[in-house]
């Protein structure tokens, strides 16, 4: 029993830490631009294709990951530059709709280029083989997922809390007009924020595809939804909120997986949404955030 619950916690934290990063990437753009970027999952999908394509020309795994990181960051910056920056002064609801458009467009291009069928994304076996530590199974990937999340969190926190650029980001997030009056360039802040959220997406994509092993054009929905659920659980507008939300979601799923019978497991997402509805009713600002709307 002890071991079983420890196993649930380890599994929950490792997947939860990935959700935490996903949610953080989403929340970061939200804080500065005031809208939930529904095209965020598209970054993950395209990152998956970047790994698959680089692998198909025979590149070693490390190189596929390197190419994926660069590609994802560039794609994220391009998204910010061409899809969102032109509307920087538009109401956030406009940006929210734009993000739906971007997600659909990126999906259409993926279908056109790669077809509907899932493609294999390679994972070195050493990453997913689990070892038993005192009866608890744990894989290198799970440890990496946790470790990378901690590193990204600490780095992001330092950047935002301790650097002058972090001051500019926080100022632009709180009051973009006033920040501009102090000499901040909101378009530049936007691009940097998209770059950072691209780095976060790349780290997520690495863990994500190592775990599931395939990518298809419609695979953007799951990460976007997970991130969305996590930010609703934890609350938007802080660093703490999405992290807590992501970990909670991971633990919740892991607990469900250990209780539910196989045929009920198909409804895991339904349960997660049930939880979201419950949280929205009981605590609309999330466990640790402020009250916000999809487009503030």
């Amino acid at each position: 029993m002890m071991v079983a619950s420890l196993q649930v916690i380890v599994d929950g934290l490792s997947i939860g830490s990935t959700y935490a990063l996903l949610a953080l990437g989403l929340s970061l753009v939200f804080s500065v631009m005031g809208f939930v970027n529904f095209a965020y999952g598209s970054l993950i999908v395209w990152a998956g294709y970047a790994i698959a394509v680089t692998d198909s020309v025979g590149a070693p795994y490390a190189l596929t990951i390197l190419v994926m990181v660069v590609f994802t960051v560039v794609l994220s910056i391009a998204m910010g530059r061409f899809a969102f920056r032109p509307f920087i002064t538009a109401p956030p609801a406009t940006l929210l709709l734009t993000s739906f458009g971007v997600a659909l467009a990126l999906q259409a291009v993926a279908i056109f280029v790669f077809g509907e069928a899932p493609r294999h994304v390679p994972t070195p076996p050493v990453l997913i083989e689990s070892v038993s530590v005192g009866g608890v199974r744990i894989s290198l990937l799970q440890i990496l997922a946790l470790g990378l999340s901690v590193i990204v969190l600490v780095a992001l926190n330092l950047l935002i809390q301790r650097t002058t650029f972090g001051i500019e980001i926080r100022a632009a997030a709180e009051d973009s007009k006033a920040a501009q009056l102090m000499g901040v360039r909101p378009p530049k802040v936007l691009l940097v924020v998209f770059a950072i959220s691209g780095v976060v997406a790349a780290v997520v994509a690495f863990v994500w595809f190592a775990r599931i092993g395939t990518v298809d054009p419609r695979a953007d929905l799951t990460p976007t939804l997970k991130a969305f659920i996590a930010v609703v659980l934890g609350g938007l507008g802080t660093i703490r909120g999405p992290v807590i939300g992501g970990l909670l979601l991971g633990l919740f799923e892991s607990v469900l997986a250990s209780f539910l019978t196989t045929n009920l497991l198909a409804f895991q997402s339904a349960f997660a949404f049930g939880l979201v509805i419950l949280v929205l009713i009981l605590r609309p600002q999330g466990v640790a955030g402020r009250v916000v709307e999809l487009a503030k």
């Binding site: 002058t164 001051i167 500019e168 926080r170 100022a171 997030a173 709180e174 009051d175 007009k177 006033a178 920040a179 501009q180 009056l181 102090m182 000499g183 901040v184 360039r185």
Partner: protein
């Protein structure tokens, strides 16, 4: 020092004013007064580069700055303390001040930046000792008067030549208003050019050298602050209201 010639601007396609002209000499202060919706804030936003100049020109120290945006206006020495102060509550007091030095950070070489910012902080803290005491606290936790001091300090961090203030006395107790103006006097004596917008004319007129009274985007009085102020009093006495 700062001069507007035939300036026009507005929001969308709707003009707020069509033909605004004035000049403020170096080290002197101009008051802009007028009722709600007269266009006072619009005028300051235009000078700060937040609104485009539709027609006419703006000069600072003889240079045409008409085409410059907000950030570059700070670069040529024009900075605005906005209406409502707009202190960042997610930043500490010192971070608010640091933010004021954003353009300095970009314009100077690395080694010069730290010195310039430390000098700036020192200058602001010696002018407003309360800000030094509260420097690690949130900007949002300050009182209204302290926030106004912080807004002025933050603007000073960019080493301005022209300071624009939008209703600095708004919501402050009379004693605090006097304190704010005492500091503005001090800044003016040090050579800073100052443009102050106030809805209530009384306090600002005794501080300013020249004055402008707006109504519906038109200049209805312009000239020596003392004379403008007397005109306003007269108008009040006769009409029981008036532009001030």
């Amino acid at each position: 020092m700062i001069e507007l010639r035939g300036a026009a601007t507005g929001y969308g396609a709707i003009p707020v004013f069509e033909n605004m002209s004035f000049a403020v000499g170096k080290g002197s202060a101009m008051a802009i007064a007028g009722p709600n919706g007269a266009g006072k804030t619009t005028l300051l936003l235009l000078m700060a580069g937040m609104l485009p100049l539709w027609r006419g020109a703006m000069h600072v120290a003889g240079n045409d700055v008409s085409a410059l945006g907000a950030e570059e206006r700070i670069g040529v020495g024009v900075v605005l303390c906005p209406e409502g102060r707009r202190i960042f509550s997610t930043l500490t007091v010192e971070e608010n001040l640091q933010l004021g030095a954003t353009t300095i950070r970009r314009s100077l070489h690395r080694s010069g930046v730290r010195r310039a910012i430390n000098d700036g902080l020192e200058q602001v803290y010696s002018m407003f000792p309360i800000l030094r005491e509260r420097r690690h606290g949130s900007g949002g936790a300050l009182s209204g008067g302290q926030q106004q001091m912080l807004a002025i300090g933050r603007a000073l961090m960019s080493r301005p030549a022209v300071l624009l203030l939008d209703e600095p006395s708004l919501g402050l107790a009379p004693l605090i208003v006097d304190e704010v103006y005492a500091h503005l006097e001090e800044l003016k004596r040090s050579g800073l050019t100052i443009v102050v917008v106030e809805e209530a004319a009384s306090r600002v007129m005794s501080f300013a050298d020249t004055a402008l009274v707006l109504r519906n985007g038109r200049v209805i009085l312009q000239g020596d602050a003392k004379e403008v102020s007397e005109h306003l009093d007269l108008a009040k006495a006769y009409v029981g209201g008036g532009a001030g």
